[in-house]
Amino acid sequence: MVSTSSTNGNTKAIMASLMEAQAALYKTQQQAMSQKNILTPSDNPVGTSVILGANQELSNINSFKNNIDYLDTSASMLDSLYSSVWDKVSRINDLALSAANGTSASKELMQNYYDEVQSLKEDIVRLANTQFNGEYVFSGTNTGLAPFTLKDDGSIVYNGTASLNPDGSAIAGAEEYYAKKLEISQNTFVSINNPGDAVFGFVDNSTDPPSGTGLFFAIDEIQKAMDPSNFNQEEISKKLEGLQAGLENITSYRTKNGIIQSRIASAKELLENQELQTTERKSDVQDLDIVEAYSRMTQQYYAYQASMQIASQSMNLSLLNYL
């Protein structure tokens, strides 16, 4: 092979091997300083794909968690709302019971009962018109409209997305239109809003006899029976059943809400788990094994030092020193 080598070629070779040792050391230094294994896609193309995939997953998880937080606050808000409604309806129930069973019902007391029911009814309508984040929660998707309007004749009109026909029967497939779904994990959706007509019902006093359905209709009928000018204990007892049904309906919606809450909680737990795993997977590929890197750097440092020493010695080596 190469029998002699030129001085110039020798110098070039020494320089090249010095540069090589330096480049290796520099790369490790960069890695150590950034604490990252992969600084640029070509360092590990497959790893790059893993990291980008993990970044996307983490971003999705972050979105899902936002959605879950939103759902969570909205569900707790609903829970306390249902609880207040329940209290108020119970109070109406108590008042109606006393009115129905009272032996010495004075006209004045009846008027008091009637007025309290009226104000409780207004409270419940106000509760049903609650807004969350600027959207009415019981309007279905008509979130810009207050779901219930209490008219002077006692009618309670529902303005939200309808889920019931005027006769109180359910509209098939209505959920498609009133529900607002949010993604809580990859392709899993939770629907949050409930149609006010199914929860509270409605009353139309413009027809004769008055029509309506649900809690509001029951309250309206009881209130009418408790009207001191038109007082009817028997009628009150009859209508108590409807009130009970309305109360049960509220309870059932509250339970459904509770189920959503627990579903959200478990989804959140799952997501946190998933986030941990994804972060770990990403870190496995991306983050530097600091012990390995440090020992590699030490090794490369010595290699570089050795190259320099050898270079300085072999460059000093010349026949000139001996002539």
Binding site: V2, S6, G53
Partner: protein
């Protein structure tokens, strides 16, 4: 046999060794000269015999030393090998360098920024909007994220295109190729060819001129960095050079030269050979396919959009264009969805739904149209940023006249859910990958291409280096070797001088007898 002949022999010794010292000192002086080839004197005995009477009659000895030849160590075969490999390794090195620059645009992707980050942020904004579909802040945020995604596309595409423009000039601007890397390389090549032809001319008159062929070798090495070519040598030491099968330098005459012109988007520059009057050489109007190595070959590859097997900037930028266009189309399609029974809805100022205008798309090209979107021209419909009510979050049943059945359903988020669904849906134009997957694939592909190019560059550099080392070992100067020769010739000179002084004292002795 006379004392005179001894003196004249000593004189030849002195002279020959003095010349040898001149050659050695020239070698030492040129130890760091690129392309320099060491020389050696070869001595021979002067055959003018001096008669020596012996017992068996007259016998003969030589009449001193002469320089038989000045040997040059140039090796045309190794030169050729080196230049062929050098053309390859220069091309590989340049490709690896440029690919590294291109790759660095995507470094930030690893940190969760860049285009993949912008895509993720866009979908996050869609998720936020889905929880509050009628909220203006969320709508504005959604459009802002769309805007930043479009801007990211623009800036990556602009960076890529600026590299292409730097290399080949702008295809739409005639003459811009002259000052591009390709243009400059072509003029460098023509300059080298001219100088090589000139040196050929000098060499043909003085073929033994080692310095001339050394200079020519340096020029030819330099030429091999820029383009690959074939060489044949003539009897008188001149060299012919041919590029793409066409002789361009014939001994001392430059027959034709390289020219470049703007081409198409996919082949932004066209190389051709023209004769010295500027007329295109027959059959050489486009020699791009033959120019595959040297820096010029690498430049051509980087800007070639048609060849799919090799790395090219054009290819990366074409893939980004596809991504931008398919992504924009998918989002626009959802934004203006209408299947006759349900349709995407924008909001009015009165918080009611209204059908989305046909032109109320999210993404447009910079000329205002919604077709022919590329990474370079993608932008958002600024009308929607100024008036975020026009973002279609709702998708509701419609009447035959296109108006919504329930115009109050502003809390509906089904259309924005459809936007979110595009996150995971394969798009046919993206090989059935989702936008994020397609981009992830692109980055990882660039990474592996760069890794391959880097190792190619290392391998071909090692190969070229080893050939160069061989060539160097044969023709390069080793100072130690020269120093030994220096002493050798100095001692020989001293010895010859001593012979002279001995001959002188022999004369003295003779004269003293008289």
């Amino acid at each position: 046999m006379s004392i005179n002949s001894t003196i004249s022999i000593a004189q030849t010794g002195l002279q020959a060794n003095q010349y040898a010292l001149t050659v050695v000192s020239n070698n030492i002086a040129n130890v760091n000269t690129e392309g320099f080839c060491k020389q050696r004197v070869e001595f021979s005995e002067i055959g003018n015999f001096n008669r020596i009477p012996t017992a068996h009659g007259l016998q003969y000895t030589g009449a001193g030393v002469q320089i038989e030849d000045l040997k040059s160590y140039r090796n045309d075969y190794l030169d050729d090998c080196y230049r062929k490999n050098n053309a390859n390794s220069e091309a590989d090195a340049l490709l690896a360098n440029y690919a590294g620059y291109i790759e660095s645009f995507f470094d930030s992707e690893l940190e969760g920024n860049g285009l993949s980050g912008a895509i993720n942020n866009f979908y996050d904004a869609a998720q936020k909007l889905s929880s509050n579909p009628s909220d203006m802040t969320m709508r504005t945020y959604y459009m802002e994220q769309a805007n930043s995604l479009a801007n990211t596309f623009n800036s990556v595409s602009k960076a890529l295109n600026s590299y292409v423009k730097n290399i080949t000039g702008d295809v739409n601007e005639p003459g811009s190729i002259t000052n591009s890397q390709v243009g400059l390389t072509v003029s460098k090549i023509n300059n080298l060819l001219e100088r090589i032809a000139d040196l050929n001319g000098s060499i043909s008159q003085n073929s033994e001129a080692s310095a001339l062929s050394g200079s020519r070798a340096t020029l030819m090495d330099e030429l091999s960095s820029l383009i690959s070519y074939d060489t044949t040598y003539n009897e008188n030491g001149t060299a012919n050079i041919s590029i793409a099968g066409q002789t361009v330098v014939k001994a001392s005459e430059q027959v034709c030269k390289l020219a470049c012109a703007e081409g198409t988007e996919d082949e932004p520059c066209v190389l051709s050979l023209v004769d010295m009057d500027g007329k295109t050489v027959k059959g050489s109007s486009n020699i791009n396919k033959s120019v595959t190595s040297g820096q010029l070959g690498a430049y051509l590859q980087l800007c070639n959009g048609t060849d799919s097997s090799n790395f090219s900037i054009k290819k990366v930028s074409a893939k980004l264009d596809t991504l931008a266009s398919e992504f924009a189309d998918a989002i626009n399609e959802v934004q203006t969805y209408n299947d006759g029974s349900v349709a995407a809805m924008a909001m009015t100022n009165n918080k009611t739904l209204t059908p989305v205008g046909e032109d109320d798309v999210i993404f447009m090209n910079k000329n205002g149209g919604k077709d022919n979107i590329t990474a370079a021209n993608i932008c958002i419909n600024s009308d929607l940023l100024d008036n975020p009510r026009k973002v279609a979050a709702a998708r509701v049943p419609i009447n035959p006249d296109g108006t919504p059945v329930d115009e109050h359903a502003i809390g509906d988020n089904k259309n924005i859910l459809a936007v979110i669904a595009t996150r995971d849906e394969g798009i046919p134009g993206l090989n059935n990958m989702s936008p994020a997957d397609y981009f992830k694939n692109l980055v990882s592909q660039i990474g592996s291409e760069v890794a391959t190019l880097n190792s190619n560059a290392d391998i071909s550099k090692a190969l070229t280096d080893s050939i160069n080392a061989q060539r160097d070992a044969e023709m390069g100067v080793n100072v130690d070797e020269e120093l030994i020769n220096l002493i050798k010739y100095q001692r020989a000179y001293e010895a010859s001088a001593r012979v002279l002084s001995v001959a002188n004292s022999v004369y003295d002795t003779l004269l003293s007898i008289v």
